[in-house]
Amino acid sequence: MPIKAKLFITCLGEQFFPSVLKGMVRLLERLGVECEFPETQTCCGQPFYNSGLQSEGRHLARRWLRTFGAGDPTAYIVAPSGSCVDFVKHHYAELFPEDSRERALAQDLAARTYEFSQFVVNVLQVTDVGARFPHKVAYHAPCHARRGLGVRDEPKQLLRAVHGLELVPLEDEEVCCGFGGIFSVIYPEVSKAMMEAKVKNVQASGAEFVVIGEPGCLMNVAGGLHKVGSPVRAVHLIEILASDGGAR
């Protein structure tokens, strides 16, 4: 029996990074995973919950549970985002009363939901996905993946196994880029200062690419780099892993 994975594409992934999603499908299939796409998915509810709108967050969580609770109960759920996975894993259950059917389902699904790099390295036990990317690359550690899910070395293991890739250190790699969801629009001046500090470090790293495996942080830092006309490009981890070296 092949390993099955339901694709949790996330709302930001769907709107802004469809190439990352296609890369994720190709990569998983190359690694022998049978992908499913639950079509009724929209948003996990985190943007609402984090804005203080818990009722709305709960409403969307309930929808998500229905969507991903249907079908094969043994399938994994895999997302190109640590933040959305962290929300499902660590906040869904408490949104519903103890002993409720929804809480039980939330706990069950949480245990099978994975951020992409952790799924590949820890579940599939693969680090070399056969990619080629002859460039200097720096790695930014997204906060929720790192502190919420404990993603530490997995993305770097995957990057180190990419042929031709040189991983260069990034000063303050674990410091927040200033995205923070609604934080970035409630307090744009502070978000800007944090983003600019990140962009400065990225530029000082000497990298041609900075890897950010998180859609929210990616749109923030990529936008910041674009604004200053930097030649450095921000890319999702999956874009590098799906690369064969010449296709970019």
């Binding site: 469809p18 203080g52 923030n220």
Partner: protein
């Protein structure tokens, strides 16, 4: 009574030198911390944090046991215990102690609790001379400012700023040399210590089993204030009580390391009532000022575990870019963002739970493992939807917009239709795959960096991909 804290307005008028000094000083503190935490090893450090968390949680959830025990022991040792339910109560008690003893001159040990109740103003208004004796507090008092950090009050200032301040206010020749500046302050303070009628301190811990007040300092000023004047008054939050000396040994291990990057502070003073030498009177004012209300909220009560080390401020990227004053309240940084809304109410401090990117660095460094991001989320909910503690203070517009958004996000057809519409509407504004300008309120994003163009096409791609895949499978089967 302070007015509503407008965090955004505050962040818009941060003088450019403040983030520079804050980042430099906070980074130094973090480097020193790492030098004394790292050698302990992660496993031991984590077990110390857990122990510190557990015993603090035990203490604050058993105040009914430990506070009476403390009162009994302090009284037995010759001290006097006073109970202050709020700030006004506490100010009145301290003022009465001063008046009854003809006190004119007061020297103070650094204390956030006295900042919280704005004690200095009250005493000065009553005609008393009050001088801060911690170097950082001395500087901040001279500047007429408030502390910007809970253990390093003048963290936002450089040595050049301080030299200029001394030249202006003290009319002395002050070079930007920390040793010389400290010397100037020391000379001034010596006179104050020797002529003071009362010393006022806060307290880092109160040990219930022996009735002992614990004060950690590095400059020796704490001992001057608590031994030279004939009267010593300590104002301490009721949350500072711990059961016993064993608990203290754990907390001392994590506190100095997290705060100043020391294994132990230069002075650790233990004061149990009165002794043959030293002050003739010892008064302990136990301050509630909202703490018991916080305790009733199970989801936020861990706020009270705080031992005021300041590590969460040092590591916080938001704090580092805005400085402590932007938080507009006594306690800045991540701990302030959860403590201030609970002490002052969300009417006043409702902005602060949102003054965080939820990066979680604070919770990771906290020596007593306060789940700061979780409490921030809890308080955001209080602000927007209201809870059993307070009614919602956010505009009903926020809720209406949220409900509308959640409705649209909750119907897949509307969600995908919306994406298609946005792709069409954006076309004239699109430049190199980016949207440089968006209308309000989304312009708050584009004033900082462009917004990525809407480009959803995965669903269509998947349909085709899926059909091809199934087609290939069926072809295989037929063979």
């Amino acid at each position: 009574m302070i007015s509503r804290i407008d965090f955004r307005a505050n962040t818009q008028r941060v003088p450019p030198n403040i983030p520079v000094a804050t980042q430099k000083n906070a980074k130094t503190a973090l480097v020193h911390r790492e030098e004394v935490v790292e050698p302990l090893g992660e496993v031991y450090w984590e077990s110390l944090r857990q122990a510190a968390h557990d015993l603090r949680l035990h203490a604050i959830t058993h105040l009914d046991t430990y506070l009476p025990m403390l009162e009994e022991k302090v009284t037995k040792a010759g001290g006097v215990v006073h109970w202050a339910s709020d700030a006004a109560d506490a100010r009145r008690i301290v003022q009465e102690i001063a008046t009854a003893r003809g006190v004119r001159r007061i020297v103070k040990v650094k204390s956030m609790a006295t900042e919280e109740i704005e004690l200095n103003h009250a005493l000065q208004d009553a005609g008393l001379r009050v001088v801060e004796s911690d170097l950082g507090e001395f500087i901040v008092q001279l500047a007429g400012e408030k502390p910007s950090h809970i253990i390093a009050p003048a963290l936002h200032m450089t040595k050049e700023d301080i030299a200029a301040l001394f030249r202006e206010k003290l009319r002395v020749d002050a070079p930007p040399d920390p040793q010389v500046l400290t010397g100037i302050a020391r000379t001034r303070l010596r006179e104050e210590f020797l002529s003071a009628d009362m010393g006022i301190s806060g307290g880092n811990f109160l040990i219930a089993e022996t009735g002992t007040l614990v004060i950690l300092t590095n400059e020796g000023n704490g001992r001057m204030c608590t031994t030279l004047p004939p009267v010593h008054t300590a104002l301490v939050g009721i949350d500072k009580v711990i059961p016993d000396w064993q608990s203290l040994s754990v907390l001392l291990k994590v506190l100095a390391r997290s705060a100043t990057g020391q294994k132990m502070t230069c002075y650790v003073s233990f004061i149990t009532g009165i002794a043959e030498e030293g002050p003739r009177e010892f008064h302990l004012v136990l301050l509630d000022n909202g703490r018991t209300r916080i305790l009733q909220d199970e989801r936020a009560r861990e706020t009270l575990l705080c031992i005021r080390c300041g590590a969460c401020l040092n590591i916080c990227p938001v704090y580092n870019h805005v400085g402590g004053h932007a938080y507009g309240a006594t306690y800045p940084g991540p701990i302030g963002a959860i403590l201030s809304p609970q002490l002052l109410g969300t009417q006043i401090a409702g902005d602060l739970p949102f003054a965080s990117s939820l990066c979680g660095a604070c919770a990771e460094i906290c020596p007593v493992k306060i789940p700061i991001p979780e409490i921030l989320l809890h308080l955001r909910h209080r602000v927007v939807e209201g809870d059993e503690i307070e009614r919602a203070v956010a505009s009903p517009m926020v809720r209406a917009a949220g409900a509308l958004g959640a409705f649209a996000f909750g119907v897949p057809r509307m969600f995908t239709l919306g994406a298609r519409v946005l792709k069409v509407v954006q076309a004239p504004f699109r430049r190199d795959g980016w949207l440089p300008v968006l209308p309000p309120p989304a312009n708050r994003w584009t004033m900082v960096r462009p917004f990525p163009a809407f480009r959803a096409d995965f669903r269509a791609w998947w349909k085709e991909h899926y059909l091809n895949r199934e087609g290939a499978k069926n072809a295989k089967k037929e063979k």
